[in-house]
């Protein structure tokens, strides 16, 4: 009973928040299809990153670098795009829009994903080979990636035209459903992440490591390999999310994803992942991400300023962990 209640808690919280905002909202803007669509669009990059973060947190790790990595990958991807499209350095640095070729867009997106993956790999290698705490490694990486983004930006602004290419570009499925490409990408990422976690040996290994590393090792699990993979699997989607945000903002920003790690980690933990490892699911993470987004959406609608929102999200994280602790205690 306690277990079931714990698993359902995120769902109930989400429903509670939606109902609460519906009651508090006097403008009538909250309960509209348009607003829900808006929340979903805002959720896409977060969902994509949170899918990877779910793995990391299930192994009892943490990745604080995702926000900075998002900015870094945005830089790498955009520069690749601009250079391949034939833009000269002067043009690019001058902020003049360069017409992007299809090949350049593909190559830029790939390079962003690759850069994200490699940075995640580097995090994972440092954590496993040098036996450093994930918290420390990714805290350092957070600063490194952010600094690198500013350096690459060099106080100029790069513009990427054709901003719709990855974000709002529509994909038509079954001739009648028009789905924004970013939403389609998100669905694909979530399906893959959910499948791997539930239906593969690798997924089981992440749970086993988070629950008890020693046991996993005794059972023949390649602990280091799995851990490196989880950080890589957080980095690569961050590269994808970076491209969605870049296309949304018509250019890379060195400040992109500032404090994003907060929302991502909060979403994953609210979704039922235990910070001490061994528990969590992709479905939970989806609900957790939506919860955070609806929370912010409603607060914005009620004209609560952004700084107060930070306070609220922080408090919610602590609340979620407390609820997790109480439920765990009751279970045993």
């Amino acid at each position: 009973m306690g277990r079931l209640a714990k698993q359902l808690l995120p769902f109930f919280s989400l429903i509670f928040v939606i109902v609460l905002w519906s009651i508090l909202d006097t403008s009538g803007n909250f309960l509209t299809f348009r607003n829900f669509q808006n929340v979903l669009m805002r959720s896409t990059p977060n969902m994509i990153i949170a899918a990877g973060m779910t793995y990391v947190i299930i192994t009892a790790g943490i990745d604080l670098s995702v926000g900075s990595l998002l900015a870094f990958c945005g830089m790498i991807g955009s520069l690749t795009m601009l250079l391949i499209s034939g833009g000269t350095w002067e043009q690019i640095a001058g902020g003049k829009p360069v017409e992007l070729t299809a090949i350049a867009m593909m190559a830029g997106t790939m390079s962003s994903i690759l850069a994200g993956g490699l940075c995640g790999l580097a995090n994972g290698m440092l954590i496993t080979r040098l036996k450093l705490a994930p918290f420390i490694v990714t805290l350092g990486a957070m600063s490194i990636f952010r600094g690198a983004s500013y350096l690459m930006n060099h106080s100029k602004s790069y513009a990427v035209s054709d901003y719709e290419w990855l974000d709002m570009g529509e994909v038509t499925i079954l001739s009648s459903f028009h789905i924004p490409s970013s939403v389609l990408l998100m669905i694909i990422v979530l399906l893959i992440a959910g499948f791997i976690l539930k239906y593969t040996r690798f997924g089981r290994y992440t749970y086993a490591i988070g629950s008890n590393v020693q046991t996993a090792f005794h059972a023949g699990v390649n602990v280091k390999g799995v851990l490196v993979a989880t950080y890589t699997m957080t980095g690569a989607p961050t590269g994808l999310a970076a491209m969605i945000i870049t296309s949304r903002a018509s250019g890379p920003q060195p400040t992109a994803g500032l404090m994003l790690e907060l929302d991502i980690i909060a979403a994953v933990i609210i979704g039922g992942c235990s910070p001490s490892g061994g528990r969590g699911s992709i479905l939970g993470t989806i609900v957790g991400t939506l919860l955070i987004q609806f929370l912010r959406n409603g607060l914005t609608m009620l004209k609560v300023e952004a700084n107060v929102q930070l306070v609220v999200v922080g408090a919610i994280i602590i609340l979620a962990v407390t609820a997790d602790q109480i439920a765990t205690k009751r279970e045993s």
Binding site: Y199, R201, R204, Q214, G220
Partner: protein, 499 residues
Amino acid sequence: MTPQTGQLHMEKILKVFGPVTALKNATFSTRPGTVHALCGENGAGKSTLMKILSGVYQPDGGKIVMDDREIEFKNPGQALDAGISMLYQELDLAEDLTVYENIFLGNELISRIPLVVNRREMISRTAELCRQNGFDIQPTAMIKSLTLGQCQIVELLKALMRKAKIIVMDEPTSSLTESEAQRLFKIVKDLRTQGLTIIYISHRMEEVIQLADDISVLRDGEIVATGSLADMNISTIVKHMVGRELDDFFPPRHTKIGEIYFQAIGLKSNEGVQEVSFDVRRGEIVGMAGLVGAGRTEVARTIFGLQQLTAGHMKLDNKPVKIKHPSDAIKKGIALLTEDRKRSGLCTILPCSWNMTLPNYTQINMKYFLKLSKERQLCEKFGQKVSVKWSHPNAPANSLSGGNQQKILVGRWLMANSEFMIFDEPTRGIDIGAKKEIYHLLNELAAENKAILFISSELPELFGVCDRILVMRRGRLVGDLKTQETTPEKVMHLAAVEE
């Protein structure tokens, strides 16, 4: 702290957890200056009763009277203040702190400067207490550098330092060897003469007979027998515990012993194994005796690829094998049931079924993708084979009793189709009924032509189950004896006496 204090009476204690009544009308009293043994199978309510006494749980009915005063503990701190210390079976120490820091945890001595702990005084008092009791433990050693046996001693020191009037010991010898246990018994007897009350929980009847003045037996949440030890003997106690006569405790051995299957030739490892050679035949149960620190667990770890082999080699079925990582061992059909279920055997919060299949995905044809319904079928099949009692194969492993957890691990390695199985202290801390089932299981495995190495610190079970007994001392093999041609005294002598 005078000998008159510490008279305890628990009357009609009731404790309910949801739908389960853990204790019903349990009445229990002790006299100061005695050792009172508390017996009962796992799940009988011993731990619950003691957790109520030590303030971890609050009773739903009944009362506790100490020295003619009714008391009520809201938390373990209040019980400690009243002079009740509990030594848990599971480690209750901060692994990253030192011995003296653990002993004074929450009770630190303050120096003349406020808020600053008096480190020197704490160390010297710890050393003094160790000296008095004849323990060879460094006050400044880190807990994680100690063996399980030494940790147990630190737990005891902790209670002694707090000058407890009543000390509850839950299976204190389960991780100790004969000689360490004997030393512990001596301390227990000393404490008794000082006027302390020791409530002693144990599955080992020999200990109870040796130590206790009084005895109480719990069954299904009720005290079914209580009285002076003089009025009881092992068979009556066991009868009260299980509510039935316990015959054929050890199964009869008449399996056919086959060809040599596993061979260790001059195994050497930097962590406590020096030139160990032995073999195990198919259908044979080979016991391994020795004191804690004799290197038995280390031999198992070396075979399984958990520590580095520096010299020597191994053969399986007469073919040389190289094992560098547990996964190599598992691939070759070697199984290891570790001595510490919770530290290295199970993922306790994960479902039983996941625990069973964890090392076996290749063997059950799920190298990359899982087939959940097939996994469930397999777990049910092997669960039945080891007769594990679970509410559901997907129930978390920590919802099961110790004996059932052990069966899950046996089931795991049966599923792996392991041909050579190493059991390291498989009956530690599990109740008599479950022990018996484990012995029968070992016997069945041998009958299925598997080669078995059985490491144990309990000589009776080695003699009851094994065909042959290997004896280790200080990392070396000092005896290889046919069970029928030797005696427990001879094994003990080899294990304990330097030549």
